[in-house]
């Protein structure tokens, strides 16, 4: 392992490092709101909460907020005036990001920064640094391994902190990450530390629950199978208990559908972008009143198809990172892992 992209951070120096971040940047990270652990903007170091599992919401909220002002407008006698929101000058740090969430950003990058460039996302993305933290004890709902990630994966992170006791082993995943090593809070990593780190990784991976997914893999095979199963009765079977709410999509680190609307007061107003969900009937209802996805069956199928068939095809990344939020938070525990399992066991009819 090449020493210039691996360092050590003594836990006593963590605050010094954070001070630096707070000095130069707007910091987002895991923090308590009531009895809830949220990933949100943080004003002071003391508000950061580590080692309490993953946050209720995903980190996408920081770069792709649920409600975003695109511009204000006014219809006057000389046509319409536009007022753009003033862009944030300061840099941004997302601290304490779980590897799964970090990996999720890679997909958002493709969606908002690929063929179609979204200025609002790109602007924030260009200013943001992702500092991840490894999962020492994953939740029973986690399945990141099945999606090419892992409790200590650096995918999508500029820096990744791995807790090895009194120190963090800090891996840099990108040049942006390496740049942080300029700060004198870091020390060089020794082999012992590296060994400890890989042990943490091993332990974490072993502790992961593989039962729910079983042998089912996520990849080309699933992609092909899904194409065949589009009209299969399985969709009706697996969605019978679905309530049709937006929990799964709104908490998902990769779901990125949105709606754009104007809110007007007399001749002035604002144009906003808000999250939308493929699970809502309005998502596809047409002006005529006709809805090509009239029920949960079609909507849920779209969600699965999009994640494991269309996105892999178009962006060659799945729309899932195995964070398990949709599994734990679904009001009826409709488990995406079990659905994938059922599909992979299903003989195409």
């Amino acid at each position: 392992m090449n020493s210039e992209n691996v360092k050590l951070l003594n836990k006593e120096r963590l605050d010094d490092f954070l001070k630096v971040l707070f000095r130069d940047c707007i910091v987002f990270g895991p923090t308590r709101k009531g009895n809830m652990l949220l990933f949100d903007r943080i004003e002071s170091i003391d508000d950061i909460v580590l080692g309490r599992g993953n946050t209720m919401n995903s980190v996408k909220d920081a770069l792709f907020p649920q409600k975003e002002n695109l511009f204000n407008y006014r219809h006057g006698d000389e046509g319409t005036e536009i007022q753009k929101p003033s862009a944030e000058e300061k840099g941004m740090v997302l601290f304490g990001v779980r590897p799964c969430d970090a990996q999720g950003l890679l997909l958002l990058d493709k969606v908002f920064g690929g063929g179609q460039k979204d200025p609002y996302y790109i602007d924030k993305r260009s200013k943001v640094a992702i500092i991840g933290i490894a999962c020492e004890n994953p939740d029973p709902a986690c399945f990141c391994l099945a999606l090419g990630g892992g409790p200590c994966s650096t995918k999508g992170s500029d820096l990744l902190l791995i807790d090895i006791g009194d120190k963090y082993l800090v891996k840099a995943g990108t040049p942006k990450g390496i740049a942080f090593f300029e700060e004198k809070v870091f020390e060089d990593a020794d082999d012992e530390a590296l060994a400890k780190a890989s042990l943490v990784e091993k332990k974490a991976e072993e502790s992961m629950n593989r039962a729910a997914l079983g042998e089912a893999g996520i990849g080309e095979a699933l992609e092909k199978r899904l194409e065949k199963l589009f009209d299969d009765p399985i969709w009706g079977e697996v969605t019978e208990s679905c309530l049709g709410c937006g929990v799964c999509t709104y908490l998902c680190p990769t779901c990125h559908c949105f709606d754009i609307l104007d809110e007007t007061v007399k001749s002035t107003g604002e144009r906003i972008r808000i999250w939308d969900s493929c699970q809502f009937p309005l998502f596809t209802r047409q002006a005529s009143g006709f809805n090509p996805r009239p029920s949960s069956k079609e909507r849920f199928r779209q969600r699965i198809m999009h994640k494991f068939c269309y996105l892999p095809k178009n962006e060659n990344l799945p729309g899932c990172v195995g964070c398990g939020r949709c599994v734990t938070k679904c009001p009826v525990n409709l488990d995406i892992r079990e659905v994938i399992k059922k599909i992979s066991l299903r003989e195409a009819t």
Binding site: R52, P140, E263, F280, P331, V332, N333, D335
Partner: protein, 321 residues
């Protein structure tokens, strides 16, 4: 417990054997500890999936509106009250239903338990009469069952189903068999606060809301073909997470449930953000009781209060110059 599960399975079996086009709606073990979930059974050999435990929280009545065919449904006290209202509102007919009532000892609030696990994730649970033994990744803890019930279970006044074809489960002598009136003592402290403080509270709560509509979709009484919040021309409520819009969504939803809310807590269970939605419904339940002497879901004859009136209803809230 196992005896009870057996009885539920037998009741369901008899029902399935009775004829064609029949569905049993009950609970099965979920994919995670502390989770049971709805299941739909049509074949006798699937009956083994049926479970009954302290995590059968969902209100299965929500699956009934406009459903065809014969249905056997497993209900707790609160679920049965929802059935009563749904039958009154023509969403399902009594003769479609075989109601397997289970006297309920309250359902356990997963979030409360998780909050007290110090971030340790839960791998297994053992449910006793009065205690729960929760195994975490590297330790195990014992919880007092009563302490960790859902708030709405703690104030439940009739855990025994009000209508049923079969009634199962132990009822410890002090659980009332028939509906009794609610004291709403849980509202006293909050109502005592002054308006500004109450507004502050609701502001904080509603700011958590992400407008995923899990509350609405989990609610057995929210069966409108189109919810007002999805309507256009006029679009009464904005769709963003703007505080005012969110507040009005919840206010209006609560109002639409006035005299209909059976207090099953499905909304709060479904909410991923832990918004205290019931605070609104509880108040309306109280007012409906105080003003119109009506408790939702208690009998099939009484008209729901906003579908009727009395000429001597109170005027006291009106301006008298």
């Amino acid at each position: 417990m196992s005896q009870l599960i057996h009885e539920i399975k037998e009741a369901a079996r008899d029902f399935l054997r009775d004829g064609e086009d029949r569905t049993v709606i009950g609970f099965e073990q979920g994919s995670l500890p502390l989770q049971s979930r709805p299941c739909f059974i049509r074949k006798e050999n699937d009956l083994e999936r049926l479970v009954w435990n302290g995590f059968c929280k969902n209100n299965l009545a929500g699956y009934l509106p406009k459903r065809k065919g014969k249905i056997a449904i497993v209900v707790k006290g609160c679920d049965s009250r929802a059935l009563v209202e749904l039958i009154k509102e023509n969403q399902i007919t009594r003769d479609q239903l075989v109601i397997i009532g289970v006297a309920c000892n309250g359902m356990i609030d997963r979030n409360k338990i998780e909050a007290d696990m110090d971030g340790e994730s839960i791998v297994d649970v053992e449910e006793g009469e009065d205690v729960l033994t929760i195994k975490g990744t590297n330790s195990s803890k014992v919880f007092d069952r009563k302490e960790y019930l859902y708030d709405h279970c703690k104030v439940c006044t009739n855990p025994v189903p009000v209508i049923h074809d079969i009634l199962l489960g132990q009822r410890d002598s002090n659980t009332p068999q028939a509906p009794v009136n609610d004291t709403f003592s849980d509202l006293e402290d909050f109502s005592a606060l002054d308006g500004k403080e109450r507004w502050k509270y609701f502001t904080e709560e509603m700011n958590k809301c992400i407008r995923c509509y899990a509350c609405r979709n989990a609610c057995p009484m929210c069966y409108c073909p189109e919810c007002f919040v999805d309507a256009s021309r006029p679009q009464w409520v904005g769709k963003s997470t703007d505080l005012s819009d969110t507040m009005i969504f919840h206010l209006m939803r609560a109002f639409h449930l006035a005299g209909r809310c059976v207090g099953c807590g499905a909304c709060e269970q479904a909410c991923p953000m832990g918004v205290d939605i019931r605070k609104l419904n509880r108040r309306l339940q109280k007012d409906v009781m105080d003003l119109f002497h009506y408790k939702a879901g208690c009998n099939l004859e009484e008209k729901t209060p906003l579908a009727t009136f009395r000429t001597d209803d109170s005027d006291s809230f009106m301006v008298e110059p």
